[in-house]
Every structure is written in structure tokens, then in C-alpha cells.
């Protein structure tokens, strides 16, 4: 066994998950492929969304995959970093908006 939970080479084996559950694995990859096709949003826009989400869910495989995907689509590093900030802003906003709950609770408990 590897001495690390994350091995970059494991990303290449992602498709292998189908071996232990063919029906669900196939359905997932079909769905995944469909999601990233050109639609109301361009494949380029979806790639940037995926990159932002990859950072928010802190998935090293996804970060590798969508950095490369962005490069392939000609997406610039400035666009990529802005997408990461958009994700980070929502994530920090999601933390900070709970501050309202804290304020309400504080006020309720205080004289």
C-alpha cells in the first residue's frame, strides 16, 4: 500500500470504480460526461465552475484535472484564479453568514 492517502497516479484509475459496480459506475460516467457538454452554459464556463468547486471541496484530483482541462481550453491563469476566488468567497461567506446566528443567539442570551 502507498504511504499516502492521495496518489496523483490514482486519478488515471478513476474509471476502475465501474469494475465493482458496473451499472452505477456507468450511469455516473454517462451523467458526468453529459453535464460537461456544451449546453446553455459553454463547456469553457463549466470547466471554470468545476475548478472553483474542486477547490471548495478540496479534491486534489479534481484540481489537477480541471487545471489541465482549463489549459486545454485556453483558459488563462487569471481566469482560473478568479474562479478559485469565487469559490473561496462563497465558502467564506457560508461561514460568515453563520455569524448572524451567533449574533442572534448572543443577543437572546444576553440581558
Amino acid at each position: 500500500m502507498a504511504d499516502s492517502y492521495y496518489d496523483p497516479a490514482d486519478l488515471r484509475k478513476f474509471g476502475n470504480i465501474t469494475e465493482w459496480s458496473e451499472e452505477l459506475g456507468t450511469k455516473f460516467f454517462d451523467y458526468y460526461g453529459k453535464v460537461f457538454e456544451e449546453g446553455a452554459l459553454s463547456a469553457r464556463e463549466k470547466s471554470l465552475i468545476a475548478l472553483a468547486v474542486a477547490h471548495v471541496v478540496k479534491c486534489p484530483y479534481c484540481i489537477d484535472a480541471y487545471t489541465k482541462d482549463g489549459l486545454q481550453r485556453g483558459i488563462t491563469k487569471e481566469e482560473m484564479m478568479e474562479a478559485v476566488h469565487a469559490g473561496a468567497a462563497i465558502e467564506s461567506g457560508a461561514t460568515l453568514v453563520h455569524g448572524v446566528q451567533m449574533m442572534k443567539k448572543y443577543n437572546k442570551l444576553s440581558m
Binding site: D69, Q72, R73, G74
Partner: protein, 353 residues
Amino acid sequence: MTMATKSLKARHDVLAMENKQLEILNGGIFESGELPTFKEKISQIGQFPLRPKKLEILQINVGYMCNQVCEHCHVDAGPDRKEIMTRETMEQCLAVIRNTGAHTLDLTGGAPEMNPNFRWFVEEAAKAGIKDFIVRSNLTIIRANKKYYDLPQFFKKHNIHVISSMPHYTRGKTDKQRGEGVFDKSIKALQELNAVGYGLPDSSLRLDLVYNPSGAFLPGDQAALERDFKKALLEDFDIEFHNLFAITNLPIARFLDYLIASENYEDYMYSLVEAYNPTAVANVMCTNTISVSWDGWLYDCDFNQMLGLKVASKITHIKEYNEDILNNRNILISQHCYGCTAGAGSSCQGSVT
């Protein structure tokens, strides 16, 4: 990585040796069976041995000298390369051009314009009345020296189809791959080509751009990239062009050197194999092209030329050229061929599917 200013050959790098490159491409993950060889892949669809179809394109490499030392160059071209086609070999090529069934003549290099007999050769070849006459120009050559300033007019006079490299519509990415200042010079050259009528929407003066990824990744969708390039170049620089060809970098010469030095080689080969598209195999450019080197030897493609893989035929030199005999050959392959079958496929004319 800092940009090299000399070719691998001038640096006496082992990768300047063709057999060393082939050793790498045939060894490692392919020798161990971790990845299937190209031969195994195309055997599965009954395409081995790969055979030529009707010859359509005669691609002539008139020399490896270039004013640039691009990091991804599969030719290992540069100012220090002295391999230049002589007038005598050009005359042998002209004899073939006059009699060939090919409809496209494709001049490449190096920077083909740096060959001292380039203009004479173009004038003579133009007289042969070939349908599509391509010069692969790196753009900056037009601004490199006063003697090249009139190239746009020269191209126009002979109705040359200009195909030029442009790795990105931003300065940073272009200069990183091709050298400091290349972007600004390329923009200026494109504006000059537009000024004489090249690349305009209804113009018969064809101007196409070539996009090569600036790193260890594959090109994305050609049509989407073309839309992005057209929008950015028009909005930012008032530049127009006809088509964008997305070309995959093949693991040869300086790009192979870059892949190994940046520890991207295995991942890149995995990407190529994963992106293998069996439908692209039937249309790879070696099936309709013959490549001629500066010294007149014949190859299945410009990549095989750089790997020293001469055609597997009893005809191996331009002076003994015979289309029928040449057409009855098996095309030589190795793992670099995965570069032409990845995704939508890749050729000197862009995607093949």
C-alpha cells in the same frame, strides 16, 4: 524553466540523437506493458500495418535554420542549425512538383524564408500551378530583418496560403513558449498580412493560424479555440484570420526534452493514450503526405523525419521519386504517433475528425 537559446544539437544534448529519442519512445511504460504500444492499438482495429492512401500533400522541409528557439519545437530548429536545402535539391523537388498528383505543396522549416533560395524556389514552384501552396511562416521572421519586410507582398504575389503559429492570444503564454517579444512581433506581422488582404473574411488570400499548447497538455476543441482566438484578436488588435488549426505537440526533440525535464513525460503519454481516438487513425496525415528533408530524403511525415525514420520503400530520395512505388509502402510508426490520434486527431491541417 528558463528558455533555451540553443538547439539540443548545439548543446550536444543526447536527445539530439534520433536513436536516443526512439529508445525512450519504445521503452519505459510501453516496454513494460503498462501502456499499449501504438502498434497494438491500431492492430485492434485492423489498421496495422498503416498504409498510405492517395498522395495529396507534398511537404518539403527547406531547412532547420530558424530565428526562434521555441521550447516545444519538434524540429529542434534554431539560428545555430546549418542544415539548409541546396538549389540542386530544390531543382530535384521542382521536377517532382511538376509531375506529382499531389494538390498541396507545403513548405516548412525552420523558418523556410531563411533559406537563401526560398524566393527563387517559391517562384519556380508557383509556376507549376499547384492548387494549394502553403508556407508555414513563424510570423516574427517578417519583422526580423529589413530584407524580410516585403514578405507579405511576396506571398500575395504568388497567392501563397500562409499558415502561422500563434500559441495564444495573450502575450505571456506566447512569449513563454516562443521567446521574449515574439507576441508583439507576431501581432505586428499579422496586421501587415491583414493590410495586404490576407485573412479578411471574403479574401482568397488564406491566412490560418496554428495553435500548439504551451505545456504538457493536449489542445482543446479546435472550433471553441478558434472562436476565442477570433474574438480576442479582433477586439484587442483588429486582426482577422480564416481558420485555427489545433495541433498536438508530439513527444519529439525539444518537446520531449521539456516533458522529461519537467517530469511530465509519463503523464503526457498517459494523456495521449487515454485520448486515443480510433476514428482518427484513418485520416492521419501520413496517409496522404510525403515529407522531404532539406537533403532530399523521403519520410512518412515531418515527425518521422526528425526521428530519422526514412520511408520503408526502395525509393528513399527525391531524386529517384516515384509516386506509385512510394504509395506501395508501410508507414513507420512508434509511440509518438499517439499524438496524431488523440482526441479529434491532429495534423498539419489541424483536427482530422
